[in-house]
Amino acid sequence: MNDADHSGDGGSMLELKNISFTVSDEENRDKEIIKDISLTLEDDKFIAITGPNGGGKSTLAKIIVGIEKPTSGQIIWNGQDITNLSISERADLGISFAFQQPVRFKGITVFDLIKLAAGHQISRSEACEYLSEVGLCARDYVNREVDASLSGGEIKRIEIATILARGTKLSIFDEPEAGIDLWSFQNLIQVFEKMRSDIKGSILIISHQERILRIADEIIVIADGEVLEHEKAEEFLPKLLNDTESKDESCHCWKKGGC
């Protein structure tokens, strides 16, 4: 593992210490989803997590947010142990999470949801600004219900708008590009860049998209529940590209002992 240097003076916002997460399958056999992961995420960084499906990326994000409790290990947020804090308490401290498959609600409007995300009374025009940022014509959407009538792409962008409205120190996105069409993909990259300059917090994105990896400061590769790589993007990307040029394009080797 070729770890980036995290011992520098940049404040470490989030520290994962020896996180493991084990579940039991139907036959009561233990399955280790996350295996003793330790990571340090610094302030004001754009970090991309990538790696094969089923490797534990989403689970790790859910452990940070508090949706899943680690079987062992500690989560430290700006020096405070938050391992036993609830989802709401972590949200209050400044952790946001955009779901890979956003949740739908009957009767709750887009405006309601953005207002709840902002955490205080906001005007309709403020809510509309967030919607415009994710490329939705605000007037058409603000009064719509966040229910099954929205398409996958629409609800995905609304999910991102709720994260913009929160504007917290850490924003985690689980595959934000999934289900978004090409036009808004470009828009999406701009959203992240703007978000970074506006909020001055860290962004953690789970993604398979090279274009997202390209705008990251650091890239973490997770496979089989372990961190395979954690490097600065400028060191990681050339390797990835060389790799895909020289060999079969679809087949980057993400196994610990090599393929």
Binding site: S86, A91, V103, L116, A117
Partner: protein, 309 residues
């Protein structure tokens, strides 16, 4: 007009009809078994029935954009009444009718209001009917309401019924019956919440008799604590028509809910759909709102408020 309304009655009036003062247009306010204020307008006549059991509301053909308010409040414990209100809506009229019943029971005896509303809707007439039920008071006596809505809609007529019972009614048995002629439309949005040991039953029976008639019935309900609810909807398609009923219910605590939808096509061109879903609040909905900083209780409240909005 000299009207005496005490603060409790005023509160009930506000809850069931949103009224803060005597409304404009036609109205009839009934308190503790007696009509206490009544006003007809140029196009809307409100006439008490001879035997004192209710009122007839006659709306002239072509009356547009007028409203009728007929709230009922009961603040005396132990009062039981059955009231018949009949609405005759002339051809081509377009009106809003706001009914509603509020019971405050501070005593030991049961208070009960059974309102039977019959609507005769003329050709091409449009009616928006809003009905709210509310109960309050610390008394041990039950607050009981058994409303019936009987509707006949003429050719190309339209009725939209918006009914809500969110708080404080201990026992309710609702019956809504509709008969639709050619091209007529009947849509219902029912919202119901029960808590404690409350019981609510809501039954719909719709006859789609005319070609191109349509009914759309949506019921959303939340049953909390150890309350129980039964939803029954029967739609008969007797012509080339379309009918849809949807019951969506959330269980909180140990509540019990039954949904019994029934659709019958007596005509091969009838197109009928029913949907019914009962369950707890989806865990992921609570989790999503918690990631926005709400506590679990706040998240639950938001979800229920939105659902019943």
């Amino acid at each position: 007009m000299d009207i005496k309304i005490d603060p409790i009655q005023m509160h009930l009036l506000e809850e069931v009809s949103g009224l803060h003062e005597i409304p404009a247009g036609a109205y009839n306010i009934r308190a503790n078994g007696k009509g206490i204020a009544r006003n007809s307008s140029a196009n809307i006549d409100i006439i008490p029935k001879d035997n004192g059991t209710g009122i007839d509301i006659k709306i002239k053909p072509g009356t547009k954009h007028e409203s009728v308010h007929i709230p009922v409040v009961l603040s005396e414990a132990g009062l039981t009444e059955v009231v018949y209100n009949d609405f005759y809506i002339g051809e081509g009229a377009d009106v809003t009718i706001v009914a509603g019943c509020g019971i405050h029971n501070g005593g030991k005896k049961n208070s009960q209001h059974d309102g039977i509303h019959r609507f005769y809707i003329g050709e091409n007439a449009r009616v928006r009917y809003v009905e709210k039920h509310y109960g309050s008071g610390e008394g041990t006596g039950e607050r009981i309401m058994n409303p019936q809505t009987i509707v006949e809609i003429g050719k190309n007529g339209y009725m939209e019924m918006d009914t809500a019972q969110i708080k404080g009614v201990d026992s309710t048995k609702r019956l809504t019956k509709a008969k639709l002629a050619e091209g007529a439309t009947f849509t219902v949005m029912e919202r119901l919440m029960t808590h404690g040991k409350q019981y609510a039953e809501s039954e719909f029976e719709v006859d789609l008799d005319g070609d191109d008639s349509g009914a759309h019935i949506v019921s959303r309900s939340v049953a909390k604590d150890s309350s129980s609810q039964i939803f029954i909807s029967k739609i008969h398609g007797n012509a080339k028509c379309s009918g849809h009923s949807e019951c969506d219910a959330i269980i909180v605590g140990d509540a019990k809910i039954s949904a019994i939808p029934e659709i019958t096509a007596d005509c091969s061109d009838a197109s009928l759909i029913h949907e019914a879903a009962i369950g707890k609040i989806a865990g992921e909905q609570i989790i999503k709102l918690m990631t926005l900083g709400l506590t679990e209780e706040e998240a639950e409240e938001q979800i229920i408020n939105g659902f019943l909005k």
